[in-house]
Every structure is written in structure tokens, then in C-alpha cells.
Symmetry: C2
Subunit: 300 residues, 2 copies
């Protein structure tokens, strides 16, 4: 059974007349006749009662007619629905994000994107950098909003920078270093350091070690957390200092003090990351929305 059979059948049933149906369908009358006959043979019961002059639907034919219409409409609706997705006008996009780095950008971006594509469902996933890379690869994510990965991990990935944030030192307000206008890495080195956990953020650890090695010291890691909020809480509790991006400014309020480093470290570059070979329309549109939203890209 093919849709053609259903189309012909629906036309004949509607007209109750093969010849008129043939005109409407732009095929010959015997052609229709035979298709109907084939259909009846295949399904095993008659759809029409024949008299020499006309056809009349059988009871089964009437039922089949309503069903056939539904099938036909469903088929065209299926194409339409999928086409909307293909054009990126509807669908679903999975976006990974690093909360502490996207605190400022994400709300703006989401608002801009959803305003333009209200039919699109944006699924947000709070993931570690590590997880983002693997899930981009396995296509569970289409886009990741995170720090720019080191070049060796950028194989097959594309990245556009959306913002830069200076690295600053987070200090509890009562801490003896809290009064300073700027802090050197050497001053940080002896203090207990609060950081991200090694498992999820291996790059973070490597980078931090390198920073301190450059001045002949070692980081004094005291605690590891899963995200920025945990780190801030630990710092506020007076358990140590933390090196954090200035993007956290807007969520720490007066709970901890953020003090610039002297000399300044290279800024954190955060942006959108996606699989080069992935050419999903929605992904492109999301990235386009992110870049064109015009965020301040200078270190804060």
C-alpha cells in the first residue's frame, strides 16, 4: 500500500465517481480504477459497492476514508514540521554553560535568542569544561559556553570569543589582605587556595601550577569545589583565597572582596564552542545570536 492508493481512494470516495476523481487528479479514469482495485485486493475487503453507474462507499470504506485522510494529512504535516526544524525555525538546542563565567552573558543571550526564535527549546546544561568537550563530540551538546580550551583540545572545534574577564583574587572581607588595592601572586602563594576540583577541571590545575611556577612558587591548594558558588562560599567562610574570573563580581556582592592582581594575568577568554563539522542550522543561529548580541569583550 502506498500513499498514492490513499490519495486516489480519497478522491474517488469524495466524488463518489471515478471519472471526476480522475479529472481532479489529472490521471486517466482506468488508471484510478485499477489502483482502487489493487488497493482492495491488498487490504482484502471491498471499499466500494459497485453498480454499473456509480460507486458507493461500504461501511468499511467509510471508516477507511477517514483514516486515509488522517494518514495523508499526517504525512504532509510531518514534512512541514521537519522542514521547520531544518530551517532552524523550531526544534531543540542543547547548550552547555559554565555558570560562573556566563553569569552576565547568558541571560542576555537567552533573551535575545528566544525573542528571535520563540519556537526553539533551549536546553541548558551546567557542565564542567571536560564534560562539555566530550558532549560536543558525542553531539549531546550543540554549543558550549565556556572558557576557551587550549589549542590541543580545539581539534575539530570552532570557538568565538564572547567576553574576556581578568583574573582577580577573592578574599573574605575580614581577611588581612582585604584592605589591599592590588595583590601580587607572591602574596597569594602562601595562603590556602580554594579552587575547582581536579577531576572535572584538569586544565584549571595545570594552568594554576604554571602561573605559580613562573614566580618560582607552588599553589597551596586547600580545598576543591565543583563551581564558582562553592568557591565563593568557602572564601567567605575564611577558608582561604581564590583566583577567580571577574565575571563573578555580580554574584558575590559584598560577601567577598575581589582584588586585582598585580601584575595582571592574561585574561580569561570565554565564548561559544561548537563542532566544526556540525552544520545544524539552529546551532549556527545560536552562535550568530551570541556574537551579534554585542557583549562587552574587554576585561572588566
Amino acid at each position: 500500500m502506498e500513499l498514492r492508493h490513499l490519495r486516489y481512494f480519497a478522491a474517488v470516495a469524495e466524488e463518489e465517481n471515478v471519472s471526476r476523481a480522475a479529472l481532479k487528479l489529472h490521471v486517466s479514469q482506468p488508471g484510478i480504477s485499477r489502483q482502487i482495485r489493487d488497493l482492495e485486493a491488498e487490504i482484502g475487503f471491498p471499499l466500494f459497492e459497485r453498480s454499473a453507474k456509480a460507486l458507493r462507499l461500504t461501511a468499511a470504506g467509510k471508516v477507511f476514508l477517514t483514516e486515509a485522510w488522517e494518514v495523508l494529512l499526517h504525512a504532509t504535516a510531518a514534512v512541514k514540521k521537519a522542514r521547520e526544524v531544518a530551517k532552524g525555525r523550531s526544534g531543540e538546542i542543547h547548550v552547555g554553560y559554565a555558570p560562573s563565567l556566563t553569569v552576565q552573558i547568558l541571560p542576555l543571550l537567552l533573551r535575545a535568542f528566544q525573542g528571535e526564535f520563540p519556537q526553539v527549546r533551549v536546553a541548558l546544561h551546567d557542565l564542567s569544561s571536560e564534560e562539555m568537550l566530550t558532549q560536543l563530540g558525542s553531539r549531546k551538546l550543540q554549543v558550549a559556553l565556556t572558557v576557551r580550551p587550549p589549542a590541543k583540545l580545539l581539534r575539530g572545534l570552532a570557538f568565538v570569543e564572547l567576553a574576556r574577564y581578568a583574573m582577580v583574587v577573592a578574599v573574605a572581607p575580614g581577611h588581612r589582605l582585604a584592605k589591599l588595592k592590588a595583590i601580587t601572586l607572591a602574596q597569594v602563594a602562601p595562603e590556602p587556595l580554594i579552587g575547582l576540583n581536579r577531576k572535572d577541571y584538569p586544565e584549571y590545575h595545570a594552568e594554576t601550577k604554571k602561573l605559580f611556577a613562573a614566580i618560582g612558587r607552588k599553589p597551596n591548594f586547600a580545598e576543591e569545589h565543583e563551581g564558582g558558588t562553592g568557591i565563593v562560599a568557602a572564601v567567605e567562610a575564611g577558608r582561604g583565597l581564590a583566583l577567580v574570573p571577574s565575571s563573578l563580581a555580580c554574584i558575590v556582592g559584598t560577601r567577598v572582596k575581589l582584588i586585582p592582581l598585580k601584575p595582571a594575568l592574561p585574561p580569561i577568554r570565554m565564548g561559544a564552542l561548537w563542532l566544526k563539522e556540525n552544520n545544524a542550522e539552529l546551532m549556527k543561529k545560536f552562535v550568530a545570536a551570541a556574537t551579534s548580541a554585542g557583549f562587552d569583550s574587554k576585561p572588566v
Copy 2:
């Protein structure tokens, strides 16, 4: 687009591999490849992302896959559903009935039929004999349960008798004739006669006139009603006598007295009526149920 395209697409999408899908579908790999390409060309967007080694569904392809499955399942379900109707195992049957004549039979018949065919919806229509005949012709009814029509109206119709009822005289209990064990037509003739209305039951009027003409009298019609219940009410109210079938016995109780005629008139033959050329399975089964239910067919 044909169902074949959807079948092939679904198989390929499931296997994510054209060759395996080809094996499953028992067609060659290039055949599938081309059908998929044709489909993509027709709908205007790609369903798969091709790499030399494998296919991967696009986002639109995923959406289309679920829709395609629904279409395919719906198509087979449509056949199944219609087939059930064709076999008379489900569906709908419209049955006309004359309430006063079917009071005894109808409940038994419906119970027997619904017990055997629980999936069938029986739509009952309380109609005059006249309406039943026209609606049988126009196929609004499949079966009519009514008095046997005169031969000249039986053109194209089939009839099986289900019961016979004697014609009796309905009298109010206080009426002076109510004491009699039997009544002659001559005794009825002078009394005001309650009957069915002329418009809906022309045959009834013709027959009644003939009866009285046979004894050289004329019926003294005083009131016309639309059905047995109205007639009984009128008789009970003392407005006159009525000639009614004995089938009414079970609903009049003691409200009116039913007195046999002497000599007895030919009995009323009631039964099932249907269009000869109609060979709807359900109709046949309904008639079969009616005949095999084995109602008492002797005059009561």
C-alpha cells in the same frame, strides 16, 4: 512521497546504515540509497549527514523519523480498523423500530446482539413505517423492525417475520364494552376510533378503511396520534376505542383493557426489513441475530 520512502527511511534511520537496512528490507543497497535521495530531494532538506563511513540523522531527520513512524503505524492501523468493520466485528448499525410493535422483541434482540458483538454501536431510531422505508432506501438505516409492508412497497426490500400479533380492541376499563370477552367489528364501528396519524401511516388508514368496508361500515376516526403510547393514553382517558396489536399488552397494564376481536382479523406480521442490494456484513449479522433469537412467532 510514498509510504515506501518512509519505510526505507525508517529502516535506514534505525540502523544508521544503508546496507543493513537493505538486508532487512530485502532490497539492494543502491536501491535504498536512491529512494532516500529522492525523498530528500522532494522534501527539500537533508535527512542525513553523510560521511563516507556512516550516516547520521540531522535534527530535522530525527523529527521526521518519529513522524514517519506515526504515519506508517497509522496506515496499518487504518487497514486493521476498516477490516474489522468489513468483517462486521465493529462499526455502527442504524436500526429503525416501531415502538409499539417491538416492545417485547427489541430488548431481547439488543441483548443478544450486543452480547455477541460488543464492539458494535447500535443506533436506534423511532420512526414511522413511512420514514423507515425512505431511510432504508437512502441507506440511513440498515434494518427496520416494523410491520410487514404491503407487497407493492417491498420492491428491493427483504423481510423476515419475527412475530405475529393479533389485532385487539383497546377499551377504557370503565367503558360499557369493557365487560365483553370478545368484540365484533360491528360493535366497534359506531364508537369514536383512536388511530395513528394519516401522514406518517397512510397504510394504516387504508387498511382500517378496508376492514370496515368489508362489513359495510366506515371507521369513525376521532383522534390521530403519533404512536402507541398516545393512543393508549387517549383510550384510557375515555375518548374512544382503538384497534391495536396485542404486543401492547405488556405496556398498558391495567390502564386499558385489550379485548379480542370476533372474528379475529388477520394478525399483524412484524419483522426485520432491509435493502436486498445492501450486503453490509453488520446488517446480515443483525438480521441473523434477530431470526435466531427464536421469538415466539404465534399470535398472542
